[in-house]
Protein backbone atom coordinates (compact mmCIF):
# COMPACT_ATOMS: atom_id res chain seq x y z
CA UNK A 1 0.00 0.00 0.00
CA UNK A 2 1.29 3.41 -0.89
CA UNK A 3 2.45 6.01 1.56
CA UNK A 4 -0.29 8.46 0.68
CA UNK A 5 -3.04 5.98 1.50
CA UNK A 6 -2.16 6.11 5.15
CA UNK A 7 -2.88 9.84 5.01
CA UNK A 8 -5.70 10.01 2.51
CA UNK A 9 -8.68 7.76 1.92
CA UNK A 10 -9.62 6.44 -1.50
CA UNK A 11 -12.26 8.82 -2.81
CA UNK A 12 -13.59 6.11 -5.13
CA UNK A 13 -14.09 3.44 -2.48
CA UNK A 14 -17.77 2.95 -1.57
CA UNK A 15 -18.81 2.31 2.01
CA UNK A 16 -21.21 -0.53 2.60
CA UNK A 17 -24.84 0.19 3.40
CA UNK A 18 -27.84 -2.03 3.99
CA UNK A 19 -31.19 -1.55 2.29
CA UNK A 20 -33.91 -1.28 4.94
CA UNK A 21 -36.96 -0.83 2.80
CA UNK A 22 -37.95 -0.66 -0.85
CA UNK A 23 -41.32 0.24 -2.32
CA UNK A 24 -42.37 0.76 -5.91
CA UNK A 25 -44.07 4.15 -6.01
CA UNK A 26 -45.39 4.08 -9.58
CA UNK A 27 -44.35 2.48 -12.88
CA UNK A 28 -40.84 3.85 -12.82
CA UNK A 29 -40.02 5.24 -9.37
CA UNK A 30 -38.70 3.14 -6.50
CA UNK A 31 -38.44 4.32 -2.91
CA UNK A 32 -35.26 3.03 -1.18
CA UNK A 33 -34.27 3.54 2.45
CA UNK A 34 -30.83 2.47 3.62
CA UNK A 35 -28.51 2.79 6.61
CA UNK A 36 -24.72 2.88 6.61
CA UNK A 37 -23.21 -0.25 8.14
CA UNK A 38 -20.64 1.83 10.02
CA UNK A 39 -23.37 4.14 11.31
CA UNK A 40 -22.21 7.67 10.59
CA UNK A 41 -23.68 9.74 7.81
CA UNK A 42 -24.13 13.51 8.19
CA UNK A 43 -25.55 15.41 5.29
CA UNK A 44 -27.19 18.68 4.31
CA UNK A 45 -30.32 18.91 2.13
CA UNK A 46 -29.27 19.06 -1.54
CA UNK A 47 -26.35 16.68 -1.24
CA UNK A 48 -26.21 13.49 -3.27
CA UNK A 49 -24.65 10.04 -3.04
CA UNK A 50 -23.08 7.72 -5.58
CA UNK A 51 -24.95 4.45 -5.22
CA UNK A 52 -22.79 1.53 -6.21
CA UNK A 53 -24.01 -1.84 -7.44
CA UNK A 54 -20.96 -4.08 -7.84
CA UNK A 55 -20.65 -5.26 -11.41
CA UNK A 56 -23.05 -2.71 -12.79
CA UNK A 57 -21.61 0.64 -11.71
CA UNK A 58 -22.51 3.81 -9.89
CA UNK A 59 -25.36 6.29 -10.20
CA UNK A 60 -25.54 9.75 -8.60
CA UNK A 61 -28.77 10.14 -6.63
CA UNK A 62 -29.80 13.13 -4.58
CA UNK A 63 -30.93 12.31 -1.07
CA UNK A 64 -34.71 12.53 -0.69
CA UNK A 65 -34.85 12.53 3.10
CA UNK A 66 -34.07 15.26 5.58
CA UNK A 67 -31.09 14.88 7.95
CA UNK A 68 -33.60 15.47 10.76
CA UNK A 69 -35.00 12.03 9.99
CA UNK A 70 -32.89 9.53 11.92
CA UNK A 71 -34.16 6.14 10.75
CA UNK A 72 -32.18 5.98 7.52
CA UNK A 73 -31.41 7.78 4.30
CA UNK A 74 -34.06 7.82 1.59
CA UNK A 75 -33.74 7.84 -2.19
CA UNK A 76 -36.23 7.83 -5.02
CA UNK A 77 -34.85 6.01 -8.03
CA UNK A 78 -36.27 6.25 -11.52
CA UNK A 79 -35.60 3.11 -13.57
CA UNK A 80 -33.82 4.59 -16.55
CA UNK A 81 -30.34 3.07 -16.91
CA UNK A 82 -28.35 -0.03 -15.95
CA UNK A 83 -27.63 0.97 -12.36
CA UNK A 84 -31.12 2.24 -11.59
CA UNK A 85 -32.56 -0.92 -13.10
CA UNK A 86 -30.36 -2.95 -10.74
CA UNK A 87 -31.48 -0.77 -7.82
CA UNK A 88 -35.07 -1.63 -8.69
CA UNK A 89 -34.20 -5.29 -8.15
CA UNK A 90 -32.98 -4.65 -4.59
CA UNK A 91 -34.82 -6.04 -1.60
CA UNK A 92 -34.63 -5.21 2.11
CA UNK A 93 -31.44 -6.61 3.60
CA UNK A 94 -29.41 -6.28 0.39
CA UNK A 95 -26.03 -4.54 0.54
CA UNK A 96 -25.17 -1.55 -1.61
CA UNK A 97 -22.13 0.70 -1.85
CA UNK A 98 -22.41 4.39 -1.02
CA UNK A 99 -19.98 7.24 -1.66
CA UNK A 100 -20.90 10.52 -0.11
CA UNK A 101 -22.58 12.68 0.88
CA UNK A 102 -21.24 14.70 -2.07
CA UNK A 103 -21.80 18.24 -3.30
CA UNK A 104 -20.75 21.42 -1.55
CA UNK A 105 -23.50 23.55 -3.07
CA UNK A 106 -26.42 22.62 -0.87
CA UNK A 107 -29.73 24.20 0.09
CA UNK A 108 -29.06 27.33 2.18
CA UNK A 109 -30.58 25.91 5.35
CA UNK A 110 -29.02 28.54 7.62
CA UNK A 111 -29.22 31.53 5.29
CA UNK A 112 -32.93 30.92 4.66
CA UNK A 113 -33.93 30.99 8.30
CA UNK A 114 -36.66 33.52 9.03
CA UNK A 115 -37.45 33.87 5.34
CA UNK A 116 -40.48 32.90 3.27
CA UNK A 117 -39.75 29.90 1.06
CA UNK A 118 -41.25 28.78 -2.24
CA UNK A 119 -40.47 25.36 -3.71
CA UNK A 120 -41.22 24.91 -7.39
CA UNK A 121 -40.98 21.23 -8.30
CA UNK A 122 -41.42 19.41 -11.60
CA UNK A 123 -41.97 15.65 -11.53
CA UNK A 124 -39.02 13.83 -9.98
CA UNK A 125 -37.64 17.26 -9.10
CA UNK A 126 -39.77 16.91 -5.99
CA UNK A 127 -37.23 14.42 -4.64
CA UNK A 128 -34.21 16.70 -3.95
CA UNK A 129 -36.59 19.44 -2.78
CA UNK A 130 -38.26 17.05 -0.34
CA UNK A 131 -35.02 16.88 1.65
CA UNK A 132 -35.19 20.61 2.38
CA UNK A 133 -39.00 20.75 2.61
CA UNK A 134 -38.98 18.08 5.32
CA UNK A 135 -36.05 19.78 7.03
CA UNK A 136 -38.04 23.01 7.14
CA UNK A 137 -41.16 21.24 8.43
CA UNK A 138 -39.08 19.61 11.19
CA UNK A 139 -37.76 23.06 12.15
CA UNK A 140 -40.95 24.89 11.26
CA UNK A 141 -40.59 27.85 13.61
CA UNK A 142 -37.18 28.73 12.11
CA UNK A 143 -38.70 29.62 8.75
CA UNK A 144 -41.40 31.97 7.45
CA UNK A 145 -44.21 31.07 5.04
CA UNK A 146 -43.72 27.85 3.08
CA UNK A 147 -45.24 27.39 -0.37
CA UNK A 148 -44.85 24.23 -2.44
CA UNK A 149 -45.78 24.10 -6.13
CA UNK A 150 -45.70 20.69 -7.78
CA UNK A 151 -46.30 19.84 -11.40
CA UNK A 152 -46.37 16.22 -12.60
CA UNK A 153 -46.59 15.04 -16.17
CA UNK A 154 -49.59 12.78 -15.66
CA UNK A 155 -51.69 11.61 -12.74
CA UNK A 156 -50.36 8.01 -12.52
CA UNK A 157 -46.79 9.35 -12.16
CA UNK A 158 -47.53 11.13 -8.87
CA UNK A 159 -45.65 9.72 -5.90
CA UNK A 160 -45.41 10.40 -2.14
CA UNK A 161 -49.19 10.78 -2.44
CA UNK A 162 -50.01 10.39 1.25
CA UNK A 163 -47.25 12.85 2.16
CA UNK A 164 -48.57 15.32 -0.36
CA UNK A 165 -52.04 14.95 1.14
CA UNK A 166 -50.60 15.72 4.56
CA UNK A 167 -48.79 18.72 3.11
CA UNK A 168 -52.04 19.99 1.62
CA UNK A 169 -53.84 19.48 4.94
CA UNK A 170 -51.33 21.55 6.93
CA UNK A 171 -52.39 25.12 7.63
CA UNK A 172 -48.76 26.29 7.86
CA UNK A 173 -47.94 25.24 4.28
CA UNK A 174 -49.43 26.66 1.09
CA UNK A 175 -49.57 23.72 -1.29
CA UNK A 176 -50.58 23.85 -4.95
CA UNK A 177 -50.43 21.02 -7.41
CA UNK A 178 -51.08 20.53 -11.09
CA UNK A 179 -50.78 17.74 -13.65
CA UNK A 180 -49.85 18.39 -17.29
CA UNK A 181 -52.52 16.11 -18.72
CA UNK A 182 -56.15 15.84 -17.54
CA UNK A 183 -57.12 12.51 -15.99
CA UNK A 184 -60.42 10.95 -14.83
CA UNK A 185 -59.15 10.55 -11.27
CA UNK A 186 -57.83 14.11 -11.01
CA UNK A 187 -60.01 17.07 -10.01
CA UNK A 188 -57.23 19.60 -9.49
CA UNK A 189 -55.31 22.01 -11.68
CA UNK A 190 -54.34 20.97 -15.18
CA UNK A 191 -51.34 22.53 -16.92
CA UNK A 192 -47.61 22.83 -16.50
CA UNK A 193 -46.13 24.01 -13.21
CA UNK A 194 -45.67 27.57 -14.46
CA UNK A 195 -49.46 27.96 -14.57
CA UNK A 196 -49.41 27.88 -10.76
CA UNK A 197 -47.00 30.81 -10.47
CA UNK A 198 -49.59 33.58 -11.05
CA UNK A 199 -51.54 32.18 -8.07
CA UNK A 200 -48.70 33.10 -5.72
CA UNK A 201 -47.59 36.26 -7.49
CA UNK A 202 -47.81 38.45 -4.42
CA UNK A 203 -45.40 36.21 -2.49
CA UNK A 204 -42.68 35.95 -5.13
CA UNK A 205 -40.61 39.09 -4.63
CA UNK A 206 -40.20 38.61 -0.88
CA UNK A 207 -39.40 34.88 -0.92
CA UNK A 208 -36.45 32.59 -1.43
CA UNK A 209 -37.39 30.41 -4.39
CA UNK A 210 -36.08 26.88 -4.99
CA UNK A 211 -36.48 25.21 -8.37
CA UNK A 212 -35.93 21.59 -9.37
CA UNK A 213 -37.37 19.70 -12.30
CA UNK A 214 -36.64 18.37 -15.79
CA UNK A 215 -34.11 20.39 -17.89
CA UNK A 216 -36.82 22.10 -19.96
CA UNK A 217 -38.65 23.42 -16.89
CA UNK A 218 -36.03 25.87 -15.65
CA UNK A 219 -36.20 28.21 -18.62
CA UNK A 220 -39.95 28.66 -18.36
CA UNK A 221 -40.05 29.02 -14.58
CA UNK A 222 -37.26 31.61 -14.73
CA UNK A 223 -39.08 33.50 -17.48
CA UNK A 224 -42.20 33.62 -15.29
CA UNK A 225 -40.15 34.80 -12.30
CA UNK A 226 -38.41 37.44 -14.43
CA UNK A 227 -41.81 38.88 -15.34
CA UNK A 228 -42.39 39.40 -11.65
CA UNK A 229 -38.93 40.94 -11.23
CA UNK A 230 -37.77 38.44 -8.61
CA UNK A 231 -34.14 39.26 -7.73
CA UNK A 232 -31.76 36.58 -9.00
CA UNK A 233 -30.02 36.19 -5.67
CA UNK A 234 -33.29 34.92 -4.17
CA UNK A 235 -33.59 32.09 -6.69
CA UNK A 236 -31.87 28.72 -6.21
CA UNK A 237 -31.66 26.09 -8.92
CA UNK A 238 -30.97 22.44 -8.31
CA UNK A 239 -29.05 21.49 -11.46
CA UNK A 240 -28.61 17.76 -11.70
CA UNK A 241 -26.12 16.51 -14.29
CA UNK A 242 -24.18 13.29 -14.90
CA UNK A 243 -22.01 13.36 -11.79
CA UNK A 244 -19.86 10.39 -12.69
CA UNK A 245 -16.93 10.73 -10.28
CA UNK A 246 -18.64 13.07 -7.81
CA UNK A 247 -15.33 14.68 -6.85
CA UNK A 248 -14.81 17.38 -9.46
CA UNK A 249 -12.50 15.54 -11.86
CA UNK A 250 -14.17 13.45 -14.56
CA UNK A 251 -15.73 16.42 -16.36
CA UNK A 252 -19.14 14.96 -17.21
CA UNK A 253 -21.21 17.26 -15.00
CA UNK A 254 -19.37 20.43 -15.95
CA UNK A 255 -21.49 23.51 -16.69
CA UNK A 256 -19.03 26.06 -18.06
CA UNK A 257 -16.64 26.72 -15.16
CA UNK A 258 -18.71 24.87 -12.56
CA UNK A 259 -18.56 21.22 -11.65
CA UNK A 260 -22.08 20.39 -10.45
CA UNK A 261 -20.70 17.66 -8.19
CA UNK A 262 -18.57 20.04 -6.13
CA UNK A 263 -19.90 23.55 -6.84
CA UNK A 264 -23.54 22.35 -6.75
CA UNK A 265 -25.94 20.66 -7.20
CA UNK A 266 -27.77 23.70 -5.76
CA UNK A 267 -26.75 27.01 -7.34
CA UNK A 268 -27.82 30.54 -6.66
CA UNK A 269 -29.19 31.96 -9.93
CA UNK A 270 -27.15 35.14 -9.55
CA UNK A 271 -23.96 32.99 -9.65
CA UNK A 272 -24.96 31.45 -12.97
CA UNK A 273 -24.49 34.56 -15.12
CA UNK A 274 -21.09 33.14 -16.09
CA UNK A 275 -22.63 29.76 -16.92
CA UNK A 276 -24.87 30.08 -19.98
CA UNK A 277 -24.99 26.28 -20.28
CA UNK A 278 -26.89 26.05 -16.98
CA UNK A 279 -30.34 26.82 -18.35
Amino acid sequence: MCECCTQEKDIYLPQIATVQKVRLMNDTEMYVRFTMDDGGFDYTPGQFVEVSIAGIGEAPLTIASSPTQKDGIELVVRRIGNVTKAIHNLRAGDKIGIRGPLGKGTYPVEHSKGKDLIFICGGIGLVPQRSFINYVLDNRTDYGNVTVLLGTKCYPQRFFQSELQQLEARDDVHYLETVDEAHDCWNGNVGVVTTLIPKIESELASSEIFICGPPIMYKFVLMALAEDSVPRDQIYLNLERKMKCGVGLCGHCQINKYYVCIDGPVFKYSDLGVAPEAI
Partner: protein, 344 residues
Amino acid sequence: MAVKKITKAALTEWVGELVSKERVFGVQSKGDKFDFGPLTSAQDLRLDYDVTLQPPKKYFLPPVETLLTFEVSAGYESQYSDKPFVLIGVHPYDMIAINQIDELFKQGYYDTHYMTRRSNATIITCDVVNASENVFASQMKTATVKDGFDILLTDIGDSYIAEAATEKGEALLSKAETADASKDDLDKREKIQKDNEKNLSKHQLKCEVAELPGLLENAYNHPVWEEKAATCFACGSCNQVCPTCYCFNVQDDVKWDMKTGQRCRAWDGCMLDGFAMVAGGHDFRKKRADRFRHRLYRKAKYVPEKIGGQIACVGCGRCVSACLPDIANPVNVYNRLFDDIKTK
Protein backbone atom coordinates in the same frame (compact mmCIF):
# COMPACT_ATOMS: atom_id res chain seq x y z
CA MET B 1 21.92 21.03 -5.68
CA ALA B 2 24.95 20.78 -7.92
CA VAL B 3 24.74 20.92 -11.67
CA LYS B 4 26.73 18.16 -13.35
CA LYS B 5 28.06 17.42 -16.77
CA ILE B 6 27.79 13.93 -18.17
CA THR B 7 29.26 12.73 -21.44
CA LYS B 8 26.96 11.04 -23.92
CA ALA B 9 28.84 7.76 -23.47
CA ALA B 10 28.51 8.00 -19.67
CA LEU B 11 24.81 8.77 -20.01
CA THR B 12 24.29 5.67 -22.14
CA GLU B 13 26.15 3.61 -19.57
CA TRP B 14 24.10 5.12 -16.73
CA VAL B 15 20.81 4.49 -18.52
CA GLY B 16 22.00 0.96 -19.28
CA GLU B 17 22.53 0.39 -15.57
CA LEU B 18 19.12 1.86 -14.83
CA VAL B 19 17.22 -0.35 -17.28
CA SER B 20 18.94 -3.43 -15.89
CA LYS B 21 17.78 -2.65 -12.35
CA GLU B 22 14.63 -0.54 -12.46
CA ARG B 23 11.36 -0.22 -14.32
CA VAL B 24 12.23 2.40 -16.92
CA PHE B 25 10.09 4.07 -19.56
CA GLY B 26 11.67 6.27 -22.17
CA VAL B 27 11.28 7.86 -25.57
CA GLN B 28 12.00 5.60 -28.53
CA SER B 29 11.43 5.75 -32.26
CA LYS B 30 8.19 4.28 -33.55
CA GLY B 31 8.29 4.18 -37.36
CA ASP B 32 9.20 7.71 -38.36
CA LYS B 33 7.75 9.10 -35.12
CA PHE B 34 8.50 8.77 -31.42
CA ASP B 35 6.69 7.53 -28.35
CA PHE B 36 7.20 6.65 -24.71
CA GLY B 37 7.44 2.95 -23.96
CA PRO B 38 9.20 0.42 -21.72
CA LEU B 39 12.94 0.92 -22.17
CA THR B 40 15.01 -2.25 -22.29
CA SER B 41 18.20 -0.92 -23.86
CA ALA B 42 19.95 2.42 -23.40
CA GLN B 43 20.67 2.46 -27.15
CA ASP B 44 16.94 2.75 -27.85
CA LEU B 45 16.59 6.00 -25.91
CA ARG B 46 16.09 8.98 -28.24
CA LEU B 47 16.51 12.23 -26.34
CA ASP B 48 16.80 14.03 -29.69
CA TYR B 49 13.14 13.36 -30.46
CA ASP B 50 10.82 16.16 -31.57
CA VAL B 51 7.52 15.16 -29.97
CA THR B 52 5.98 11.86 -28.85
CA LEU B 53 2.73 10.54 -30.28
CA GLN B 54 1.19 10.30 -26.80
CA PRO B 55 2.11 12.51 -23.88
CA PRO B 56 3.66 10.86 -20.79
CA LYS B 57 0.41 11.51 -18.90
CA LYS B 58 -0.44 7.83 -19.48
CA TYR B 59 2.02 6.79 -16.76
CA PHE B 60 0.00 8.65 -14.15
CA LEU B 61 -3.48 8.51 -15.64
CA PRO B 62 -3.42 5.32 -17.74
CA PRO B 63 -5.89 4.93 -20.64
CA VAL B 64 -7.54 2.23 -18.49
CA GLU B 65 -6.76 1.50 -14.85
CA THR B 66 -8.33 -0.54 -12.08
CA LEU B 67 -9.49 1.65 -9.20
CA LEU B 68 -10.88 -1.15 -7.10
CA THR B 69 -11.88 -4.77 -7.19
CA PHE B 70 -15.13 -6.12 -5.85
CA GLU B 71 -16.91 -9.28 -5.01
CA VAL B 72 -20.62 -8.98 -5.65
CA SER B 73 -22.41 -8.63 -2.30
CA ALA B 74 -19.11 -8.83 -0.39
CA GLY B 75 -17.50 -5.43 -0.81
CA TYR B 76 -14.84 -3.37 -2.49
CA GLU B 77 -11.07 -3.14 -2.19
CA SER B 78 -8.88 -0.30 -3.45
CA GLN B 79 -6.17 -1.28 -5.91
CA TYR B 80 -2.90 0.57 -6.31
CA SER B 81 0.02 0.30 -8.63
CA ASP B 82 2.80 0.72 -6.11
CA LYS B 83 5.83 -0.10 -8.23
CA PRO B 84 8.41 2.68 -8.56
CA PHE B 85 9.54 3.61 -12.06
CA VAL B 86 11.80 6.01 -13.91
CA LEU B 87 10.50 8.07 -16.81
CA ILE B 88 13.20 9.41 -19.13
CA GLY B 89 12.89 12.09 -21.78
CA VAL B 90 9.92 14.23 -20.74
CA HIS B 91 9.98 17.55 -22.61
CA PRO B 92 9.43 20.73 -20.57
CA TYR B 93 5.93 21.39 -21.94
CA ASP B 94 4.86 17.85 -20.99
CA MET B 95 6.39 18.29 -17.53
CA ILE B 96 4.36 21.47 -17.07
CA ALA B 97 1.24 19.55 -18.11
CA ILE B 98 2.03 16.90 -15.48
CA ASN B 99 2.53 19.64 -12.88
CA GLN B 100 -0.90 21.04 -13.76
CA ILE B 101 -2.66 17.68 -13.46
CA ASP B 102 -0.82 17.06 -10.17
CA GLU B 103 -2.42 20.19 -8.80
CA LEU B 104 -5.89 19.28 -10.10
CA PHE B 105 -5.75 15.75 -8.67
CA LYS B 106 -4.75 16.87 -5.21
CA GLN B 107 -6.69 20.11 -4.70
CA GLY B 108 -10.13 19.55 -3.21
CA TYR B 109 -10.46 15.79 -3.21
CA TYR B 110 -7.12 13.97 -3.17
CA ASP B 111 -6.96 11.27 -5.85
CA THR B 112 -4.88 8.55 -4.22
CA HIS B 113 -4.69 6.50 -7.41
CA TYR B 114 -3.14 9.28 -9.47
CA MET B 115 -0.95 10.53 -6.64
CA THR B 116 0.39 7.04 -5.87
CA ARG B 117 1.62 6.68 -9.43
CA ARG B 118 3.00 10.18 -9.29
CA SER B 119 4.94 9.58 -6.09
CA ASN B 120 6.29 6.32 -7.50
CA ALA B 121 7.81 8.14 -10.46
CA THR B 122 11.25 9.58 -10.90
CA ILE B 123 11.05 11.95 -13.84
CA ILE B 124 14.03 12.85 -15.99
CA THR B 125 13.16 15.72 -18.29
CA CYS B 126 15.19 16.93 -21.23
CA ASP B 127 15.27 20.24 -23.02
CA VAL B 128 14.05 20.13 -26.61
CA VAL B 129 16.72 19.47 -29.25
CA ASN B 130 14.57 19.29 -32.37
CA ALA B 131 11.37 21.28 -32.71
CA SER B 132 8.35 19.32 -33.94
CA GLU B 133 6.31 20.52 -36.91
CA ASN B 134 3.51 22.01 -34.82
CA VAL B 135 5.09 22.94 -31.50
CA PHE B 136 4.21 26.37 -30.11
CA ALA B 137 5.49 25.96 -26.56
CA SER B 138 7.43 29.24 -26.74
CA GLN B 139 4.14 31.02 -27.31
CA MET B 140 2.62 29.36 -24.24
CA LYS B 141 5.75 30.03 -22.14
CA THR B 142 6.24 26.30 -21.62
CA ALA B 143 9.41 25.78 -23.66
CA THR B 144 11.47 25.39 -20.50
CA VAL B 145 10.54 24.11 -17.07
CA LYS B 146 11.67 25.06 -13.58
CA ASP B 147 10.13 22.41 -11.33
CA GLY B 148 8.28 19.12 -11.04
CA PHE B 149 11.12 16.98 -12.44
CA ASP B 150 13.76 15.06 -10.52
CA ILE B 151 16.53 15.54 -13.08
CA LEU B 152 16.78 17.91 -16.04
CA LEU B 153 19.07 17.04 -18.94
CA THR B 154 20.21 19.50 -21.56
CA ASP B 155 22.08 18.36 -24.67
CA ILE B 156 25.04 20.73 -25.21
CA GLY B 157 26.64 18.79 -28.05
CA ASP B 158 29.16 16.26 -26.82
CA SER B 159 27.64 16.05 -23.34
CA TYR B 160 24.54 16.66 -21.31
CA ILE B 161 24.16 19.09 -18.45
CA ALA B 162 22.34 17.23 -15.68
CA GLU B 163 20.64 19.07 -12.87
CA ALA B 164 19.09 17.15 -10.00
CA ALA B 165 16.17 19.03 -8.49
CA THR B 166 15.15 16.57 -5.78
CA GLU B 167 16.85 14.18 -3.40
CA LYS B 168 15.45 11.31 -5.44
CA GLY B 169 17.03 12.81 -8.56
CA GLU B 170 20.33 13.43 -6.81
CA ALA B 171 20.51 9.85 -5.56
CA LEU B 172 19.88 8.57 -9.06
CA LEU B 173 22.36 10.93 -10.67
CA SER B 174 25.05 10.01 -8.15
CA LYS B 175 25.22 6.60 -9.80
CA ALA B 176 26.42 8.20 -13.04
CA GLU B 177 29.97 9.20 -13.90
CA THR B 178 29.74 12.98 -13.90
CA ALA B 179 31.89 16.05 -13.53
CA ASP B 180 30.93 19.44 -12.17
CA ALA B 181 29.54 21.68 -14.90
CA SER B 182 31.76 24.66 -15.69
CA LYS B 183 30.62 28.25 -16.19
CA ASP B 184 31.06 27.68 -19.91
CA ASP B 185 28.80 24.62 -19.80
CA LEU B 186 26.13 26.53 -17.93
CA ASP B 187 26.31 29.35 -20.45
CA LYS B 188 25.76 26.82 -23.24
CA ARG B 189 22.74 25.46 -21.42
CA GLU B 190 21.35 28.91 -20.87
CA LYS B 191 21.71 29.73 -24.56
CA ILE B 192 19.88 26.54 -25.56
CA GLN B 193 17.06 27.28 -23.14
CA LYS B 194 16.83 30.91 -24.23
CA ASP B 195 16.72 29.80 -27.87
CA ASN B 196 13.97 27.29 -27.10
CA GLU B 197 11.98 30.00 -25.35
CA LYS B 198 11.95 31.82 -28.70
CA ASN B 199 12.12 29.15 -31.35
CA LEU B 200 9.52 26.54 -30.42
CA SER B 201 7.02 28.71 -32.24
CA LYS B 202 5.65 27.01 -35.32
CA HIS B 203 2.39 28.84 -34.67
CA GLN B 204 2.41 32.44 -33.52
CA LEU B 205 -0.07 33.64 -30.94
CA LYS B 206 -1.05 37.23 -31.63
CA CYS B 207 -1.57 38.08 -27.97
CA GLU B 208 0.24 37.26 -24.78
CA VAL B 209 -0.71 33.91 -23.28
CA ALA B 210 -1.83 35.66 -20.09
CA GLU B 211 -4.40 37.60 -22.10
CA LEU B 212 -6.28 34.46 -23.20
CA PRO B 213 -8.75 34.20 -20.28
CA GLY B 214 -9.70 37.84 -20.80
CA LEU B 215 -10.07 37.27 -24.53
CA LEU B 216 -12.59 34.51 -23.87
CA GLU B 217 -14.69 36.75 -21.62
CA ASN B 218 -16.37 38.19 -24.70
CA ALA B 219 -16.09 35.33 -27.13
CA TYR B 220 -18.85 32.98 -26.04
CA ASN B 221 -21.18 33.72 -28.93
CA HIS B 222 -18.50 34.30 -31.56
CA PRO B 223 -19.12 32.59 -34.95
CA VAL B 224 -15.72 30.84 -34.85
CA TRP B 225 -17.14 27.96 -32.78
CA GLU B 226 -19.77 27.10 -35.39
CA GLU B 227 -17.37 27.68 -38.28
CA LYS B 228 -14.63 25.39 -36.97
CA ALA B 229 -16.98 22.75 -35.61
CA ALA B 230 -18.80 22.51 -38.96
CA THR B 231 -16.10 20.07 -40.11
CA CYS B 232 -15.42 18.44 -36.73
CA PHE B 233 -15.75 14.64 -36.69
CA ALA B 234 -16.28 14.66 -32.90
CA CYS B 235 -13.67 11.88 -32.91
CA GLY B 236 -11.94 13.03 -29.74
CA SER B 237 -8.43 12.77 -31.24
CA CYS B 238 -7.58 16.17 -29.78
CA ASN B 239 -8.60 14.90 -26.32
CA GLN B 240 -6.72 11.66 -26.83
CA VAL B 241 -3.33 13.24 -27.54
CA CYS B 242 -3.63 16.20 -25.16
CA PRO B 243 -1.22 16.23 -22.20
CA THR B 244 -3.60 18.36 -20.13
CA CYS B 245 -6.90 16.56 -20.85
CA TYR B 246 -7.91 14.48 -17.84
CA CYS B 247 -11.64 13.75 -18.19
CA PHE B 248 -12.52 10.13 -17.56
CA ASN B 249 -15.29 7.59 -17.33
CA VAL B 250 -15.69 4.86 -14.73
CA GLN B 251 -17.18 1.48 -15.44
CA ASP B 252 -17.40 -2.00 -13.97
CA ASP B 253 -16.01 -5.14 -15.58
CA VAL B 254 -17.30 -8.46 -14.27
CA LYS B 255 -15.21 -11.60 -14.61
CA TRP B 256 -16.49 -14.85 -16.07
CA ASP B 257 -17.33 -16.17 -12.61
CA MET B 258 -20.03 -13.47 -12.43
CA LYS B 259 -19.02 -12.82 -8.83
CA THR B 260 -15.84 -10.80 -8.92
CA GLY B 261 -14.71 -7.93 -11.02
CA GLN B 262 -13.12 -4.55 -11.14
CA ARG B 263 -14.14 -0.94 -11.34
CA CYS B 264 -12.04 0.76 -14.00
CA ARG B 265 -11.31 4.33 -14.90
CA ALA B 266 -10.79 5.03 -18.60
CA TRP B 267 -10.01 8.17 -20.57
CA ASP B 268 -13.02 10.00 -21.90
CA GLY B 269 -13.26 13.08 -24.09
CA CYS B 270 -15.43 16.18 -23.93
CA MET B 271 -15.56 16.28 -27.75
CA LEU B 272 -17.35 12.94 -27.95
CA ASP B 273 -21.09 12.75 -28.56
CA GLY B 274 -23.01 12.02 -25.37
CA PHE B 275 -20.30 13.20 -23.00
CA ALA B 276 -22.74 15.52 -21.19
CA MET B 277 -25.80 13.33 -21.57
CA VAL B 278 -27.84 12.63 -18.44
CA ALA B 279 -30.25 9.85 -17.55
CA GLY B 280 -33.36 10.34 -19.62
CA GLY B 281 -31.37 11.23 -22.72
CA HIS B 282 -31.04 14.99 -22.43
CA ASP B 283 -27.62 16.03 -23.77
CA PHE B 284 -26.39 19.35 -22.42
CA ARG B 285 -23.76 19.74 -25.15
CA LYS B 286 -25.43 18.05 -28.08
CA LYS B 287 -23.98 20.39 -30.71
CA ARG B 288 -20.40 19.86 -31.82
CA ALA B 289 -19.86 23.61 -31.72
CA ASP B 290 -20.81 23.63 -28.03
CA ARG B 291 -18.32 20.86 -27.31
CA PHE B 292 -15.60 22.51 -29.40
CA ARG B 293 -16.11 25.76 -27.51
CA HIS B 294 -16.17 23.94 -24.18
CA ARG B 295 -12.78 22.34 -24.90
CA LEU B 296 -11.10 25.61 -25.75
CA TYR B 297 -12.72 27.38 -22.80
CA ARG B 298 -11.44 24.63 -20.54
CA LYS B 299 -7.91 25.16 -21.82
CA ALA B 300 -7.81 28.92 -21.50
CA LYS B 301 -10.41 29.83 -18.91
CA TYR B 302 -12.06 27.15 -16.77
CA VAL B 303 -8.99 25.10 -15.81
CA PRO B 304 -6.72 28.16 -15.41
CA GLU B 305 -9.14 29.44 -12.76
CA LYS B 306 -8.37 26.27 -10.79
CA ILE B 307 -4.58 26.34 -11.15
CA GLY B 308 -3.57 29.89 -10.45
CA GLY B 309 -4.03 31.27 -13.93
CA GLN B 310 -1.80 28.83 -15.83
CA ILE B 311 -3.20 28.16 -19.30
CA ALA B 312 -4.04 24.47 -19.71
CA CYS B 313 -2.57 24.31 -23.19
CA VAL B 314 1.19 23.75 -23.18
CA GLY B 315 1.76 24.20 -26.90
CA CYS B 316 2.88 20.64 -27.70
CA GLY B 317 1.03 20.83 -31.02
CA ARG B 318 -0.17 17.21 -30.84
CA CYS B 319 -3.82 18.15 -31.39
CA VAL B 320 -2.81 20.15 -34.45
CA SER B 321 -1.13 17.07 -35.93
CA ALA B 322 -3.90 14.69 -34.87
CA CYS B 323 -6.87 16.66 -36.18
CA LEU B 324 -7.88 15.39 -39.62
CA PRO B 325 -10.16 18.32 -40.56
CA ASP B 326 -7.44 20.67 -39.26
CA ILE B 327 -9.60 22.69 -36.89
CA ALA B 328 -8.04 21.84 -33.52
CA ASN B 329 -5.15 24.32 -33.54
CA PRO B 330 -5.88 26.49 -30.49
CA VAL B 331 -3.62 29.26 -31.80
CA ASN B 332 -5.75 29.71 -34.92
CA VAL B 333 -8.91 29.98 -32.82
CA TYR B 334 -7.45 32.37 -30.26
CA ASN B 335 -5.88 34.51 -33.01
CA ARG B 336 -9.20 34.71 -34.81
CA LEU B 337 -10.86 35.88 -31.61
CA PHE B 338 -8.04 38.35 -31.03
CA ASP B 339 -8.45 39.79 -34.53
CA ASP B 340 -12.19 40.14 -34.16
CA ILE B 341 -12.52 41.17 -30.55
CA LYS B 342 -9.35 42.83 -29.33
CA THR B 343 -8.70 44.91 -32.39
CA LYS B 344 -12.23 46.31 -32.51
